[in-house]
């Protein structure tokens, strides 16, 4: 099996990538501005609902129930979808999914496809596989189009081009659409994209989509979006291929009631998405006449097997945790080396890859808990981060200096006598580094700390010494 999450296995480690990115003033400004705006909108519309916490609890309960009965619900979906005229394919990993999709397009004798925004297709590297087979994929989500035309990587799961500003988008469009006179006026930019895409909507006869939710009971698929470009892809072509991670399933149609309240408010700060496309199989004479579903595992069943990690699969990809995360706000999404950025990326990417790659991601968090606070599916992200850290240590994949330092600290904290002894050693050891009452220049792995912060030296008397002295003089 070849489980891949985009190019995550080859990507530089988080601290290295982050170090480079936080020096990019343009990206930082763009990311800060965009996340601040979305966060503000999200907080306002969430505050409107009195039952927000109950909705979160329901979402969590529905997802947990579904995951515990996943096989049953997947089979139920397969039967219902097939019954409604769809065809269901199963893919164990990225390669199998790509081969299936390429095969379906070739069977239709087509060499071009239009795409609705789908992070899952980025996860399996679908565009690269299509291009290798001589098939041209065109992204139709505006942000995805910007990323594709800019030969760039997505930096946010909801707003993939969040790291770009208007001026940069104008540059990309000018170059790729051959429009040298284009200004950076938002309306002009949107009009350029509309003209560019409309030609494709009318010509290309096969579309690829992802899904936000799939309903076991009825075999229904649901895609929500803001632009209407998705709706074009879902309704104009004759053939539709929908790629779905197996965790996207929910049991009943009425469960949408919960999720369609949570998702738009969390994702874009809207009360409802402008376009909610919900369809079941094939309707003769209306919309796509051939409908394929590819159900993707790609490491998900392994995540499911882990008691603590399992909740990661509750994710509805709203991106709220990214916008709330103070680490993401500083670095943007590219530091995470994965199509899944931010807190959800930090727990999903390494788990999908069986903890074989991206092991610095669980440490890319100060554990401030802002992600858990906003997550509409109530995923306890800090808990999963800690769980994954313990796995990194268990696998002996932690850096040597850290293992040694932690061992020494554990020994020093074993009992009070040892702690007192360690405090005395510390007082002597810090001497060479002390200047004007502060420590400003430590070596080794402590250097990063004192690069921008002074450290207070260990004072002459510890609390316990003070207490002992006071006790005696009583």
């Amino acid at each position: 099996m070849s489980i891949r999450v985009g190019e995550a296995a080859e990507a530089p480690e988080f601290p290295t990538a982050a170090k480079r990115l936080i020096q990019d003033s343009q990206i930082r400004r763009n990311v800060r501005h965009a996340t601040d705006v979305i966060r503000g909108k999200r907080n306002r519309v969430v505050a409107e609902l009195d039952d927000w916490e109950q909705l979160r609890a329901s979402a969590h309960a529905i997802k947990e129930h579904t995951l515990r009965n996943l096989v049953r619900y997947l089979e139920q979906f397969e039967a219902a979808c097939t019954n409604a005229g769809g065809e269901v394919h199963w893919a164990q990993d990225a390669d199998e999914a790509n081969q299936t999709i390429v095969g379906l397009i070739q069977a239709e004798k087509k060499s071009e496809v239009i795409k609705v925004k789908t992070m899952t297709s980025d996860e399996i590297g679908l565009n690269t596989a299509l291009e290798a087979a001589g098939i041209i994929p065109s992204e139709t989500d505006l942000a995805d189009l910007i990323v594709q035309l800019g030969r760039d990587q997505p930096s946010h799961i909801v707003v993939p081009a969040l790291h770009r500003n208007r001026a940069e988008i104008r540059q990309i469009f000018r170059r790729e659409m051959n429009l040298p006179a284009l200004s950076d006026d938002p309306e002009e930019l949107a009009a350029a994209a509309r003209a560019y895409l409309r030609e494709k909507f009318l010509r290309v006869d096969i579309a690829i989509s992802g899904a936000n939710f799939v309903i076991a009971e009825t075999g229904t698929v649901c895609v929500v979006e803001s632009e209407g470009n998705g709706r074009m892809c879902l309704s104009l072509p004759q053939v539709l291929i929908t790629l779905i991670g197996i965790e996207k399933i929910i049991p009943r149609f009425e469960d949408l009631e919960v999720f369609l309240q949570l998702l738009p408010r969390s994702a874009t700060g809207e009360r409802m998405n402008p376009y909610n496309s919900i369809w079941t199989g094939v309707s003769p004479g209306d919309g796509p006449q051939r409908f394929h579903v590819v159900l993707l595992d790609n490491g998900r069943t392994q995540v499911l097997a882990d008691e603590v990690g399992r909740q990661t699969l509750d994710c509805i990809r709203c991106g709220a945790c990214l916008n709330a995360c103070p680490v993401y706000q500083q670095t943007g999404g590219h530091a995470y080396g994965s199509v899944y950025a931010g807190p959800i990326g930090a727990i999903l990417t390494p788990q999908l890859q069986s903890m074989q790659h991206s092991q610095t991601l669980p440490y890319a968090s100060s554990l401030c808990g802002a992600c858990y606070e906003v997550c509409p599916a109530k995923i306890n992200i800090p808990e999963v981060l800690l769980h994954l850290r313990s796995k990194v240590v268990e696998n002996r994949d932690a850096p040597v200096y850290e293992r040694v330092a932690m061992k020494i600290a554990a020994l020093a904290l074993k009992n009070a006598d040892r702690l007192s002894a360690a405090q005395s050693v510390g007082r002597i050891a810090q001497k060479p580094f002390e200047r004007d009452g502060v420590i400003a220049n430590l070596p080794g792995f402590l250097r990063g700390w004192t690069a921008v912060r002074d450290l207070k030296p260990i004072p002459k008397q510890s609390f316990r010494q003070w207490w002992a002295e006071r006790d005696q003089s009583k």
């Binding site: 968090s365 100060s366 554990l367 800690l386 932690m406 912060r453």
Partner: protein, 247 residues
């Protein structure tokens, strides 16, 4: 009431003034304070970095030390969060009924300092005097794990002479995160610089918190940048009186 102090390893070592202030404050309020000298560390640093086995030993010894204590006061919300959020899971994972029981007997006795004062002892005016402009950094653990609410602010508002200035973007993390600040020093520094900017905007003389870990971090940058703004643990403000305010 006899109150047993858990001073935590880094307060004991680096910030003894906080422990002393806690003792002075609680005694001034008429309570008997004890310090069990066998205590060391709650295990937070090891647990948060992935060293669960080491954290488990520290949890065992902490439970032993405080088995007979009535009320335990901890002037550090991150250590309290470690105990409340993690001890039950760590105990569960051993499958030892005795340990699981020990944790459930231990936790109801644990109070962070402002919880102890406001919830358990029912006081907000502790008779303190601190004639300075102060801003409060609500640490992540205090708001998202302990759900401390406005308890620290209520206590500070009753301090005579003190002007409390609201911190902009207060709920944003300072970027410390324990070993996070060593593993990702640049990102941590970037978060810190945002926090420092907010602190400076208040024009306060002191930045306070219920955690010395954040204060060590914020204070480190305030000192390096020669801002003249100092950090002080809330216990030290609450312990200060006309007779002995820190200067």
């Amino acid at each position: 009431m006899t109150i047993s102090l858990f001073i935590t390893c880094y307060n004991d070592t680096l910030f003894p003034e906080t422990g002393k202030a806690t003792v002075i404050l609680l005694e001034r309020l008429g309570h008997t304070v004890e310090f069990r000298a066998a205590q060391t560390c709650c295990g937070q640093m090891h647990f948060n970095t992935g060293y669960v086995g080491d954290a488990l030993s520290m949890m065992r010894s902490t439970l032993d030390v405080f088995a007979t204590a009535e009320v335990i006061c901890i002037p550090s919300s991150s250590c309290v969060a470690m105990m409340r959020d993690q001890y039950p899971h760590i105990a569960q994972s051993t499958g030892e009924p005795a340990l699981i029981n020990a944790v459930s007997r231990f936790l109801p006795k644990v109070f962070e300092l402002s919880e102890l004062l406001v919830d358990k002892l029912g006081i907000t005016d502790v008779g303190a005097f601190f004639p300075h402009a102060v801003t409060l950094h609500p640490s992540c653990h205090s708001i998202r794990s302990l759900h401390i609410g406005n308890k620290p602010q209520e206590l500070l508002k009753c301090v005579r002479g003190l002007t409390l200035i609201e911190l902009p973007d207060a709920r944003q993390c300072c970027g410390f995160g324990g070993t996070f600040s060593l593993k990702n020093p640049e990102v941590s520094a970037a978060m810190l610089s945002d926090k420092v900017q907010c602190v400076l905007e208040t024009r306060a003389e002191f930045c306070t918190a219920i955690d010395n870990s954040c204060l060590m971090h914020i204070g480190g940058a305030l000192s390096r940048q020669r801002t003249g703004v100092r950090t002080v643990h809330i216990a030290e403000i609450l312990a200060a009186t006309d007779a002995g305010a820190i200067q």
